[in-house]
């Protein structure tokens, strides 16, 4: 049997910022792929290009950043093969990709939600844009989703504004928003960086449970190797816009080959394992 194509293939991606001549390379020949149902962690420090990669996949790069080389191909079950790099900015298929096939959880739970719309309406908007449901049905699904991500008393919380919820609940609402359309790929950009340890564990557990339920792949962006160890199947280490090392999680953690990976791992405070 022919092995199934990976869900996402990023091949030789190059992103530059600025005008030709004075341009700086933000990503250099970045390649990786994500299989169906798999979690790939993209690890690196600030400025290494993790978020830039995620935004390139979503075609959300802010000008003057632009893709100059490489391909990003999504092998969608629902829509077939889509070359994301070839799409025009306003291509209709891009609307189906964003929030439909691929959705994203951002780091800051406060800035990712609109402060002037209720939490319920924001989750419902995702359904209304991507699914042909009437208001009542969409509302029912939203309530069910809020309940599922662990927001108690969802009927009341539906009408809350983001500032009325704690950080943990806000992040749950964002997860509800990202997963309510059952995407094939979830991009989680430091989803727990702003949260307490105990909340972090719950949020990561929630993402994992959903991943199993709907069978989506996850691209997890993080700088925490502890999270990587417990959530990711494979890891790609980014340094100054380049993937310096990638492989199975256990191999990277226990037998890092690249000096940068080793340096990152040894900087992890309270590291209880020894390499080698």
């Amino acid at each position: 049997m022919k092995p199934e194509a990976p869900l996402l293939e990023v091949d030789g991606l190059r992103v530059v910022i600025g005008a030709p001549g004075g341009a700086a390379e933000a990503l250099r020949d970045v390649s990786f792929c994500i299989a169906r149902g798999e979690t790939l962690a993209l690890v690196g420090e600030s400025g290494s290009g993790k978020t830039m990669t995620a935004h390139a996949i979503m075609r959300l790069l802010p000008p003057p950043a632009r893709i100059t080389d490489g391909r990003i191909v999504l092998h969608s079950r629902a829509e077939g093969e889509i070359d994301l790099t070839a799409l025009r900015d306003k291509a209709p298929v891009l609307r189906r990709v964003r929030g439909g096939l691929v959705s994203m959880i951002f780091q800051e739970p406060m800035t990712a939600l609109s402060p002037v719309h209720t939490v319920g309406n924001q989750v419902m908007e995702a359904i209304r844009v991507h699914r042909d449901l009437d208001r009542a049905d969409a509302r029912r699904r939203t309530l069910a989703m809020l309940e599922k991500v662990g927001i108690p008393d969802s009927a009341r919380r539906f009408d809350c504004y983001p500032h009325e919820l704690s950080g943990g609940l806000r992040q749950r609402a964002i997860i509800a928003m990202a997963l309510v359309c059952r995407p094939e790929l979830l991009i989680a950009d430091e989803p727990t960086a702003a949260l307490d340890l105990t909340i972090q564990a719950q949020i990561l557990g929630l993402i994992r449970a959903f991943q199993r339920e709907i069978g989506c792949s996850v691209l997890l962006i993080t700088h925490d190797f502890g999270i990587v160890a417990h959530v990711a199947d494979r890891v790609a280490v980014l340094h100054l816009g380049e993937v310096v090392e990638s492989g199975k999680t256990r191999e990277i953690l226990c037998r890092p080959r690249h000096p940068y990976t080793r340096a990152l791992l040894s900087a992890q405070p309270g590291r209880r394992t020894r390499t080698g």
């Binding site: 420090e45 600030s46 662990g150 009325e164 950080g167 307490d196 340890l197 105990t198 909340i199 972090q200 564990a201 719950q202 990561l204 557990g205 994992r208 700088h223 925490d224 190797f225 502890g226 999270i227 990587v228 160890a229 417990h230 999680t249 256990r250 953690l253 226990c254 340096a263 990152l264 791992l265 040894s266 900087a267 992890q268 405070p269 309270g270 590291r271 209880r272 394992t273």
Partner: protein, 294 residues
């Protein structure tokens, strides 16, 4: 040595409650909020005590009570000055407080928010000297240069503004500012939380060096248990304004006595894939609440 016998800081029954919000938006009107609830501990000279807990546990409020950002509602915080005189930080007058402040300094979490963008590094680091009228002119400038050197920054950089520095460098500037008064107690409130891990490791290393060089005592407020394990001698675990457990670091990590501490530790993702991570902390905390009452 006298130092070993008498603690540098001895906190007894410290409480801080905040009056109910006038608008009653989050909490029902009429009840005050007990942020710090009957906290007692001692801090020996030369020790590093970690104060850990979730957000809202009262860590920062406790630290701020000790610095008298606001006065505690009850309790004592007996602080031993370098001369041996003991003052109660919870009760001293504003004027006396100014003479005590040089000995208790603080480093804040956000190096972008804690440095005035319109002041040069020279002004920022030299400000404590100016406030206390201690050194002026070239003497002040020399002390600023010296303080910068001690934290690993080039003294030549002192006419630059904070925007010219990275997060790690800014945190070094904040440390230089705290150190210039030669304090005996340094309160570090999530001082490395906003830094990249490799930078965090460097700043932690710097803090260890400075501790020995200046015989400092640290109160290290953090939610990062990995950092605690690296640098603290003892750890106090706070929850809902109270210290639920206080023990030597090795003991906290190897044999935590309290259920809450165990749950907190189980939520730490270890970089060892064989150490399991507990994703069900939410349920366990709920069970704990059901047992203990809120």
């Amino acid at each position: 040595m006298n130092h070993a016998v008498q603690p540098l800081l001895s906190v007894r029954g410290l409480c801080k409650s905040f009056p109910p919000s006038s608008r009653g938006f989050f909490r029902p009107r009429g009840s005050s909020f007990q942020a710090v609830d009957d906290v007692s501990f001692t801090l020996a000279a030369g020790e590093t005590l970690g104060l850990v807990g979730e957000s809202g546990a009262g860590k920062t409020t406790l630290a701020r009570c000790l610095l008298r950002v606001f006065p505690p509602s009850a309790g004592q915080a007996l602080f031993r000055l370098p001369g041996g005189r003991i003052v109660d930080l919870a009760r001293i007058s504003a004027r006396e407080l100014k003479s005590v402040r040089p000995h208790v300094q603080m480093v804040f979490q956000d190096p972008f928010g804690s440095l005035n963008p319109r002041m040069t590094v020279r002004e920022i680091v030299g400000e404590p000297l100016a406030v206390h009228g201690l050194a002026r002119g070239t003497e002040r400038d020399d002390r600023v240069a010296d303080s910068l050197r001690r934290v690993g920054l080039m003294p030549e950089w002192r006419s630059r503004y904070p925007h010219a520095f990275s997060g790690g460098q800014r945190q070094r500037i904040a440390i230089a500012r705290a150190l210039i008064m030669r304090p005996s107690l340094l309160v570090l409130d999530e001082a490395t939380a906003s830094l990249d891990i490799s930078v965090q490791a460097q700043v932690l290393e710097l803090l260890q060096e400075l501790k020995h060089e200046f015989r400092l005592t640290y109160l290290f407020v953090t939610h990062n248990l990995d950092v605690v394990q690296n640098i603290c001698n003892r750890v106090a675990v706070m929850r809902r304004g109270r210290i639920v457990e206080l023990a030597p670091t090795a003991q906290i990590f190897a044999a935590p006595a309290r259920a809450y501490t165990r749950i907190l530790l189980s939520a730490v993702p270890s970089t060892d894939p064989d150490v399991p991570m507990n994703f069900a902390v939410g349920d366990e905390l709920a069970r704990l609440d059901a047992q203990d009452g809120p």
